[in-house]
């Protein structure tokens, strides 16, 4: 099993006003390829900061981070942008699609900034990504013509389009009703079944139980890390 993510003693310190905030206080973590991990914790536990560090949106103050073998901690802003583009797919709570832009063009967006080009056209890559999330029939729709669940699917397709190493989802079902939540979680499951590594941040235990491994954080450190048993999963009645 290949190590996709290796975190070694990660610290992240913020200086806000005159105060020093230790958002991450010595986090070590290994995630293998094909895992489905949920990161849980209350507000202020550091889970968002961990997400930002994992997603290469922010850099640790101390410690090492290897993503698919690449040492990310030493990279500059340009290199981090490239890593985000090619190795990471983001899914946000608020979907974060470009308004007045078609679903297809939204999904194509990461390809615009891609620095490696394959022979396949951007259109085709985007179409096949939308296929994977079951939205081929709504490619020309704008976000305001799509339901919440559909918008999130477009966001997932966008995250997939560059064949990333990991999908990072930040409270992906936070804005969705319970039925749509299950829809999206089943999309995640089918993607994970195909071998995609998934890391999901959530504060809801119900949602976390759909993952295969749950990491719990508090005060900047990991306090629990266990595999989820199938029978522990909470499903709607």
């Amino acid at each position: 099993m290949m190590d996709v993510i290796v975190l070694e003693n990660i610290h992240k310190v913020f200086r806000l006003g005159g105060e020093t905030v230790r958002a991450l206080n010595g986090v070590s973590l290994t995630i293998h390829k094909g895992e489905y991990v949920a990161v849980m914790g209350a507000s202020g536990s550091g889970k968002s900061t961990l997400m930002n560090v994992l997603g290469c949106l922010d850099q640790a103050s101390m410690g090492g981070y290897r993503l698919e073998g690449l040492c990310v901690t030493a990279m500059n802003k340009h290199q981090l942008a490239d890593v985000r583009n090619s190795k990471i797919g983001f899914v946000f709570q608020g979907f974060n699609l470009l308004p007045r832009t078609s679903a297809l063009e939204n999904v194509e967006l990461p390809l615009l900034y891609s620095r490696h080009s394959s022979g396949v056209s951007h259109r085709d890559k985007a179409r096949s990504a939308l296929d994977k999330v079951g939205l081929s029939d709504r490619m020309d729709h704008h976000p305001n013509q799509l339901s919440g669940g559909q918008q999130q699917r477009v966001a997932i397709a966008r995250a997939l389009v560059n064949d990333p190493a990991i999908i990072l989802a930040d409270e992906p079902t936070g804005n969705l009703d319970s039925k749509t939540t299950l829809d999206i979680l089943s999309v995640f499951k089918s993607l994970n079944d195909k071998g995609i590594t998934l890391i999901m941040v959530t504060h809801e235990p119900d949602v976390a139980s759909h993952a295969k491994r749950v990491i719990t954080m508090r005060d900047g450190i990991i306090i629990d890390d266990r595999n989820v048993d199938q029978k522990d999963r909470v499903v709607a009645p």
Binding site: N52, G55, L57, D58, K77, H78, A81, D82, R84, N85, S86, F90, F92, N96, L98, R100, T101, L109, P110, L112, Y113, S114, R158, N162
Partner: protein, 405 residues
């Protein structure tokens, strides 16, 4: 390939907010339109002047009596006139660079025809005058060498004189009186219109130079001699020859100034042209200021646009856009806004220039060089004023940008 995409994205962004884009471009449109219209009319005026002056006669040298310093400052030799018919004869004889020589004897006289009278200028000229001055006859014939020799009392009338003395008639063959001397009209001049300085070139009567000199002018001196060079490139040589001949004829010793002065047609054109050119440049500079104001307008709107699209910038960065990508995106938008504004401005400016030109009878010259320079300048305005907002956008922190409401 990527550039095509970026430009397409920029266009989409501009089209998404048509009204705002149009208002942003307004400053540039007005600025460019003003400059193009002013320059078009200015250059047209210059062309008009050049045409006017060249219609006065090509390869023309005008010799006036008195030195260029005359007019009271140098009254030493008194107001002794310096040009004479002997000078004319001398010029006719010698230089190879000179083609036609015509003395100008100009008098202002009352002319009577039947019951009508009119005060006009009488010019005594040689038979080569038509060639020198590029005049044509619309009726009748011009003086012959025999007329000149005989100091004949024949006259050729300008169109304005005909309109005053013989309205609606053909005056050829009729009699008029100049200074109580009877003349026969033998021809009518083709119309020349007004000079750029406003004088009516058709308000004139031509008589043979000998007639004017001996019969009308009490033997007073010739005011000017018109000389046409054989060709344009020999003008400088012709001018030198004229001075040589006249200095010899006037017996001027070495070192003493000319007691005449020679002016060429090119001098006249260059003076009039320069004045118009300076005026055009000045007005264009003022109009150019409004172009800069338009640039500030673009900077303003781009700043607002960046703030409004903070979230979008955050998304793009999260997905892998570098600072440079964001910078180029917004810069291209600013440049496209300027360029489109510039193109609209050019179209408006050309329209306005031709409109005004038609209304006032001025020519309009819109050179491709001016349009090209305007396009380049407009694009530069876009780059210059779009840079600050674009830089701001590229410097955003993605995490904070994503949180922006």
């Amino acid at each position: 390939m990527k550039w095509q995409k970026l430009i397409k994205v920029a266009f989409q962004s501009i089209l998404k907010n048509r009204m705002r884009s149009l208002l942003t471009m307004l400053g540039i449109i007005i600025g460019v339109a003003s400059v193009i219209a002013l320059v078009g009319l200015g250059q047209g005026s210059q062309a008009d002047i050049e045409k006017q002056v060249s219609s006065m006669g090509t390869n023309l040298l005008i010799i006036h009596q008195g030195s260029s310093f005359s007019g009271g400052v140098r009254g030493g030799t008194g107001t002794q006139a310096s040009l004479s018919m002997e000078d004319v004869a001398a010029l006719r004889e010698k230089p190879l660079t000179i083609q036609y020589v015509s003395p100008v004897i100009r008098l202002n006289e009352q002319v009577i025809a039947g019951k009508k009278n009119w005060n006009t200028a009488i010019e005594g000229v040689s038979q080569s005058y038509l060639n020198i001055r590029n005049y044509r006859l619309s009726r009748g014939s011009f003086f012959t060498p025999r007329d000149i020799k005989a100091k004949a009392k024949v006259a050729v009338l300008g169109k304005t004189v005909v309109d005053e003395l013989f309205p609606g008639q053909d005056p050829v063959g009729t009699r008029i009186r100049i200074r109580n001397v009877p003349f026969v009209v033998v021809g009518v001049l083709g119309s020349k219109g007004q000079t750029a300085m406003g004088s009516d070139q058709d308000d004139v009567i031509l008589v043979p130079d000998t007639t004017a000199f001996y019969r009308l002018s009490d033997g007073k001196a010739i005011r000017a001699i018109m000389v046409s060079a054989v060709s344009e490139d020999l003008m400088t040589d012709a001018e030198a020859d004229v001075r040589k001949v006249l200095r010899h004829a006037h017996k001027l010793p070495e070192g003493e100034e000319d007691d005449f002065h020679v002016r060429s047609q090119t001098e006249l054109i260059s003076v009039a042209s320069k004045v118009t050119g300076t005026l055009t440049a000045l007005l264009s500079a003022i109009a150019g200021v409004s172009l800069l104001v338009g640039g500030i307008g673009i900077m303003n709107i781009m700043l607002v646009s960046v703030t409004e699209r903070t979230r979008e910038i955050g998304i793009r960065m999260a997905i892998g856009a570098r600072g440079g990508d964001i910078l180029i995106q917004f810069l291209i938008e600013a440049v496209i806004l300027s360029l489109i504004g510039g193109i609209f401005g050019i179209m408006a400016g050309v329209g306005i220039a031709f409109g005004i030109g038609k209304a006032t009878g001025t020519s309009v010259v819109v050179s491709t060089w001016v349009i090209l320079a305007t396009v380049i300048f407009t694009a530069s305005v876009g780059v210059f004023f779009g840079f600050y907002p674009a830089k701001k956008a590229s410097a955003l922190n993605p995490i904070e940008a994503l949180r922006y409401e």
